[in-house]
C-alpha cells in the first residue's frame, strides 16, 4: 500500500516523497521482523534451558535445578549408547515411512477418482475429508473400543469370513505398530487427497488431450504425462506427511503408551517416557537435542528437494517467448 502511495507522490517529483517512501519501507520491514525477533527471544530461553539440562545431570528427585552437577556430554553419550534410542528411531522411520506411502497411495487414488466432477461429488469430498478433522485422541479411544479381541471389528470379520476370528490387533507386540500405522493412514489420507486433488485439477488439460489424439492410452497418459507434471506436488505431499508422521504422539500414546513392551515406542513416545515417566529430565533434554539435530538435517534436505522441484517446474512452464526469431 505504501508503494502505490509513494508512486503517486513520486509523480510530483517532490523531495519529501522520497523520504516517506524510505520510511514506508522501514515500517514495513519492522512490521515483518518484529514478530520474528520476539519469537526468537521467546524461544531462545527454552533452547538455552534445554541445553543447560542436557549438559547437567538433573532428575526431578534432586533439589533445585540450578544446583545440578555439570555432566558434560555424559548424557548424550548415555543416549547414544542406548539401543532403545535407536530402536525408537527405527520404529519412527517405519511408522512414518509406511504411513506416508499408505496415505499417499490411497489419497492419490481417491483424488484420481474425484478430480473430474460428477453428480454428488461434493458429498464424497466431505466424507473423504472427515478423518482429518477427527481429533487424534478420539481416534485412539474409538479404535481401542473397536479393536479389542472380542470387539466389533473382529466380529464383523468373523461374520464375513464365516469362521471365528479373534485377531489381537493391539496386544500382539509384532503387529501393534501396524495397527497404529493403519490408524495414521486412516487419519491422514485426506491430507494427501486434498494436495493431490489440487495438483490434478491444476494440471493443464491440453497436454493430456494432445497425448490422447496422438493415440496414447489412459495408462500411458497417466505415467508419461500426468505423473511427471505432478512430480513436485507428489514430493510436497510425501515430505509434509513424513515430517508430520515423525512427530505423531496422541494416537500411539493414547492407545498403547509404547507397549506392548516397547513395540510401539517411537521417538516422541521414547522422549516422553524418559522425561516424564522416568523423570530423567536431563537425559530427555539430551535426547531431544539429538532428535532436533536429526530433524533439522531431514527438513533441510526436504527443503532442498522441494526447491529443486520448484525450479524444475518453473523451467517446464516457462512460456515460450511471444517474439523472437522463428
Amino acid at each position: 500500500m505504501t508503494a502505490s502511495a509513494t508512486e503517486t507522490a513520486a509523480g510530483t517529483g517532490a523531495a519529501p516523497a522520497r523520504g516517506s517512501r524510505s520510511r514506508g519501507i522501514r515500517i514495513f520491514k519492522w512490521t515483518l521482523l518484529t514478530p520474528l525477533f520476539s519469537l526468537f527471544f521467546f524461544l531462545m530461553p527454552v533452547f538455552l534451558l534445554q541445553l543447560y539440562f542436557s549438559l547437567h545431570s538433573w532428575t526431578i528427585y534432586l533439589s533445585s535445578w540450578w544446583d545440578a552437577d555439570y555432566a558434560g556430554f555424559d548424557l548424550f553419550r548415555e543416549v547414544l549408547t542406548e539401543s532403545r534410542f535407536y530402536w525408537a528411531f527405527a520404529r519412527s522411520f517405519l511408522f512414518a515411512g509406511l504411513s506416508t506411502v499408505g496415505c499417499f497411495i490411497i489419497g492419490f487414488g481417491l483424488a484420481l477418482l474425484m478430480y473430474r466432477p460428477f453428480r454428488g461429488h461434493s458429498v464424497f469430498y466431505v466424507l473423504f475429508i472427515l478423518p482429518m478433522l477427527t481429533v487424534p485422541i478420539v481416534i485412539s479411544y474409538t479404535a481401542d473400543m473397536l479393536l479389542f479381541r472380542s470387539g466389533p471389528i473382529n466380529d464383523i470379520m468373523s461374520f464375513l469370513a464365516g469362521t471365528e476370528i479373534r485377531f489381537t490387533w493391539l496386544a500382539n507386540p509384532n503387529f501393534a505398530i501396524f495397527t497404529i500405522i493403519m490408524l495414521e493412514i486412516w487419519n491422514w489420507t485426506p491430507f494427501a487427497f486434498i494436495i493431490m486433488l489440487a495438483g490434478l485439477s491444476s494440471l493443464p488439460a491440453e497436454p493430456v488431450e494432445a497425448a490422447r489424439i496422438l493415440g496414447a492410452s489412459r495408462l500411458r497418459i497417466f505415467w508419461e504425462i500426468q505423473i511427471p507434471l505432478l512430480r513436485p506436488v507428489i514430493f510436497l505431499a510425501l515430505i509434509l506427511r513424513f515430517l508430520e508422521a515423525m512427530a505423531e504422539f496422541p494416537k500411539t500414546w493414547g492407545l498403547l503408551q509404547g507397549g506392548p513392551g516397547t513395540s510401539t515406542e517411537t521417538i516422541p513416545v521414547y522422549l516422553y517416557i524418559v522425561t516424564w515417566r522416568a523423570f530423567n529430565v536431563s537425559k530427555g533434554a539430551a535426547a531431544s537435542y539429538l532428535v532436533m539435530l536429526l530433524m533439522i538435517v531431514i527438513i533441510l534436505s526436504a527443503i532442498y528437494v522441494l526447491r529443486r522441484e520448484k525450479k524444475a517446474l518453473d523451467a517446464l512452464y516457462e512460456k515460450p517467448a511471444g517474439g523472437g526469431e522463428a
Binding site: 491440453e206 494432445a210 497425448a211 496422438l214 515460450p320 517467448a321 511471444g322 523472437g324 526469431e325
Partner: protein
C-alpha cells in the same frame, strides 16, 4: 471427395448452453477450410467434436465415410495443433515429436527417421535436444506442427494456433502453415477469430455465429458477396461502412435515407421492400472529391498507412465513416470533402440483417 461430413451436429453444454445448433458441413479432401467467427460462435466446439474431445449431443460425424461418434480421438487418424500448443514440457523436442509414432508402436528406427524428416520439414533440427521451455514462440509453434505432421494424419485440426504470437511472427507462421498445406496436400481445418487469417489461408471459409453457419464460401465470395450484415461487417479491414437508415420506394425509385445522407439506389433495387435497412459500402470503393458526392463531411482523422491513407468522417453515428484513398494524395484533418460511391458496389441489408439482393442484375460484385 468428402473427407469429413457432419450431419445435424448439435452440442449443448450443461442444461441449456447450446454451443452448436444443427450444423451440416462437409470438408473436402485436400482443402484448407477455415472456421471463423467471434468468440462463443461454436467454431472451437465444432473442431473439438471432430477431434473427439467433445461428444455431440446430437448428429453424426463421418471421417472417410466412417461414423466416428464413438471412436476415441487417437483412433480417428487426426492431427491437432492446440491454441497453447500443448507441448509436453518435460520431454525434449525430439521426444515430443516421437511421442505419436511411439504410441502407434512404430519401430525405433523408422521413428527416428520420421522424427528427423518432420523436424527438417519445419526447420527445427537444431532444437531436437532442447526442452519446449527453451524454445521461442515461433520455434515452439514449429515443434507443435512437427509433432502433428509426423503421425501423417488425414486431417490437420488447428485451433487458433497463432493467437499467442506477435503480429510479425504470426504472419511468418501463417506463411509456414500455408506452405505445409501446399507441400503435404492434406486437409486442414483451421479455427480462428481473425478474419485476416481466414482470408489469407482458406480455400473455403465457414463463417459461424451463435452456433450456426452464417455463410460458406471462398474468401472472395465471402468478401464480395456477404449474405448478411454480420458477414459484411466481420470481413475486411477497415470494415465495411454500414449506415442504418430507411428504404423507401417512391415512384419506382428506391431511395435510402439516413441522417445527413440520401442515396438514390440503382434501378436494380426497385423491388427491394421498403422499411428499415442498412446501407453498406467498402471503404476502398469510396471516392473522395472537393465537391459533390452522396455525403459531405469534415475529415476528423487522417491515418496514413504508406500505400493508402484512411480518412475518418464523423457522421454522428456509432462508427465513423471510413474511406481509403491513395497514399500519394494529402489531406488534412478538418478538410470538408464530398464522398461518392459507385452505385454498383452498394450493399443493402434488411432490418433482419439479411442481405437485400438486386432484382434483375445479379448480385453485387462477382469475384474477379
Amino acid at each position: 471427395m468428402t473427407l469429413i461430413e457432419m450431419k445435424g451436429l448439435r452440442k449443448v453444454f450443461g442444461r441449456n448452453i447450446e454451443a452448436v445448433k444443427n450444423l451440416d458441413l462437409s470438408v473436402e479432401e485436400g482443402e484448407f477450410l477455415v472456421l471463423v467467427g467471434p468468440s462463443g460462435c461454436g467454431k472451437t466446439t465444432t473442431l473439438r467434436m471432430i477431434a473427439g474431445f467433445e461428444e455431440p449431443t446430437a448428429g453424426e460425424i463421418y471421417i472417410q465415410g466412417r461414423l466416428v461418434n464413438d471412436i476415441e480421438p487417437g483412433q480417428r487418424n487426426l492431427g491437432m495443433v492446440f491454441q497453447n500448443l500443448a507441448l509436453f514440457p518435460h520431454k525434449t523436442v525430439a521426444e515430443n515429436i516421437e511421442f505419436g509414432p511411439r504410441m502407434k508402436k512404430v519401430d525405433p528406427e523408422t521413428r527416428l527417421r520420421r522424427v528427423r524428416e518432420a523436424a527438417e520439414m519445419v526447420k527445427i533440427t537444431h532444437l531436437l535436444d532442447k526442452l519446449p521451455g527453451q524454445c521461442s514462440g515461433g520455434e515452439a509453434q514449429r515443434v507443435a506442427l512437427a509433432r502433428t505432421l509426423v503421425t501423417d494424419p488425414s486431417v490437420f485440426l488447428l485451433d487458433e494456433p497463432l493467437s499467442s504470437l506477435d503480429a510479425k511472427l504470426r504472419r511468418e507462421m501463417r506463411a509456414e502453415i500455408d506452405r505445409l498445406h501446399q507441400r503435404l496436400g492434406k486437409t486442414f481445418v483451421f479455427v480462428t477469430h481473425d478474419q485476416e487469417e481466414a482470408m489469407t489461408l482458406a480455400d473455403r471459409i465457414v463463417v459461424m455465429r451463435d452456433g450456426v453457419i452464417e455463410q460458406v464460401g471462398s474468401p472472395l465470395e465471402i468478401y464480395g458477396d456477404p449474405v448478411s450484415h454480420f458477414v459484411a461487417d466481420f470481413f475486411g479491414s477497415p470494415s465495411m461502412n454500414l449506415i442504418p437508415g430507411t428504404l423507401s420506394q417512391e415512384s419506382g425509385k428506391a431511395r435510402f435515407r439516413a441522417p445527413g445522407l440520401t442515396v438514390e439506389l440503382p434501378p436494380s433495387f426497385s423491388q427491394a421492400p421498403a422499411g428499415e435497412a442498412t446501407l453498406g459500402f467498402r471503404p476502398e470503393h469510396l471516392a473522395v472529391s472537393q465537391n459533390g458526392g452522396i455525403f459531405r463531411g469534415e475529415v476528423r482523422l487522417v491515418e496514413p498507412l504508406g500505400k493508402d491513407t484512411l480518412l475518418y468522417f464523423d457522421r454522428g453515428g456509432e462508427r465513423p465513416l471510413i474511406a481509403v484513398v491513395e497514399g500519394t494524395r494529402t489531406f488534412r484533418e478538418g478538410d470538408t470533402l464530398g464522398v461518392s460511391v459507385n452505385p454498383d458496389l452498394l450493399y443493402l441489408f434488411g432490418g433482419d440483417g439479411k442481405r437485400i439482393r438486386r432484382g434483375s442484375k445479379g448480385t453485387g460484385i462477382r469475384p474477379a
